[in-house]
Subunit: 256 residues, 2 copies
């Protein structure tokens, strides 16, 4: 990855940290979007700031953001931004919200940042490696799904009825919640499996270089690489064995 792109991404993460920390646990009006999910002026302010910075530095690149839409997404390089992943955490005073910044190069997520403002933790995935605050991240071995620690957002959130329970019954430990941070826990080697549905590209593209840079696997539910065109069903695993076993379990449930 060229150093200019890395510097730009880090400057975006610095902006997001400053704005989000300033607004965390201060009074912020919550609106509902058309899909009934919450959004705040802070989400919009962070995305506006990042889009302006990116457009200024790299006018030739495209940008896709959660709150302000898509521009030039057919270009070779596309920045993909989620200003606050975990808005429900943010507006309930939980520190487990993050800003997601990805750079997609020729269809491949080549750079990913998960910036956790309240925790002062930054996860960067690039050039086949992942770091947290500059220190290397590494997934842990996990030979069997039965030994895995598993996160999903909640019991009714997976696209196929009964799948969340089936996965929960197959693992050693299950937890709900976490949003982007569950993937960071996986990259750090403390979680073995995360499964989600209904994600948008700005929810998952930044996670790809972090998880794969830490030695893990993150794909759609067919085992295919994630891209701007993915269907939003995502599975991340620390070990190839857990990825394969969970994919097979998902296939049995989806009838694929």
């Amino acid at each position: 990855m060229d150093r200019d792109a890395l510097r730009l991404a880090a400057a975006c993460a610095d902006d997001a940290r400053r704005i989000a920390r300033g607004a965390f646990r201060s009074v912020v009006a919550v609106e509902r979007k058309a899909d009934a999910t919450p959004v705040t002026a802070v989400d919009r302010e962070i995305e506006r700031r990042l889009r302006a910075r990116i457009a200024d530095a790299r006018p030739e690149d495209g940008i896709l953001g959660e709150e302000h839409g898509a521009e030039g997404t057919s270009r070779r390089r596309v920045w993909v931004v989620d200003p606050i992943d975990g808005t429900k955490a943010f507006i309930t005073g939980s520190p487990l919200f993050g800003t997601l910044i990805a750079l997609v190069d020729d269809g491949v997520p080549a750079l990913g940042i998960v910036e956790m403002p309240a925790l002062r933790e930054r996860f960067v995935g690039v050039d086949g490696a992942a770091t947290m605050n500059g220190r290397p991240c590494r997934v842990r071995p996990c030979p069997r799904l039965a030994d895995a620690s598993f996160y999903s957002p909640g019991p009714e959130t997976l696209a196929v009825a009964g799948l969340d329970h089936a996965l929960g019954d197959a693992v050693a430990l299950r937890r709900y919640g976490g949003d982007c941070y569950a993937y960071c826990q996986l990259a750090l080697g403390w979680v073995d499996l995360v499964v989600e549905s209904g994600m948008a590209p700005y929810d998952f593209l930044a996670l790809v270089p972090v998880v794969t840079g830490a030695g893990g696997t993150i794909t759609d539910w067919h085992g295919a690489p994630l891209s701007l065109q993915s269907d939003g069903n995502v599975i991340a695993a620390g070990s190839p064995e857990v990825h394969a076993e969970a994919l097979a379990l998902i296939a049995r449930h989806t009838g694929a």
Copy 2:
């Protein structure tokens, strides 16, 4: 509260922070207790340290802890300790675990500390006030259950089938998880309702002075004050209106 007891509780919280921070995200063997819940050597080490400190400073007081049992719990003053509330968070690398320290005086939880080692946040409830790192905590107004932000541990965790869904349908926003920290978010004025089942005295007694000191209400599902003898069904609300509405909804579901 006498200053000696306050100093002792703070020294216990300091110990817990030091031990937990030293062990967080380092390799810790996980065992399963008879009830299949996980426990680590860190849980045991923190509790041993706190019990030794309390027994040394106040040999006349009783102690109840999650991992090492009860001693002298019929005495006038009883210390109640949960060394790691949120062991599943702790062993999966999530910072949302805490140490709970309560002092029960004549049956009443008179002092409560929620120490969050990884977050470097300490919540103290005593003498009718609550603080976070020394700054006052205050619940927020919430006139109706329909406006409330609601936390519960997970969909199947409440003692009565369907209750979690009914509460989730009645509120504006619902989130799973959080363990003790959900009550801290409530004391800070960012969450309006927390409902749980199957709690032990060491899970909830420290929360009582924090929630009530911040101006909230925390009771059992009949609206009765919490004590060493409570049945483990707990409801905490920031506003009296949400407490009353949620209690009524619970009563309809429990047939009480």
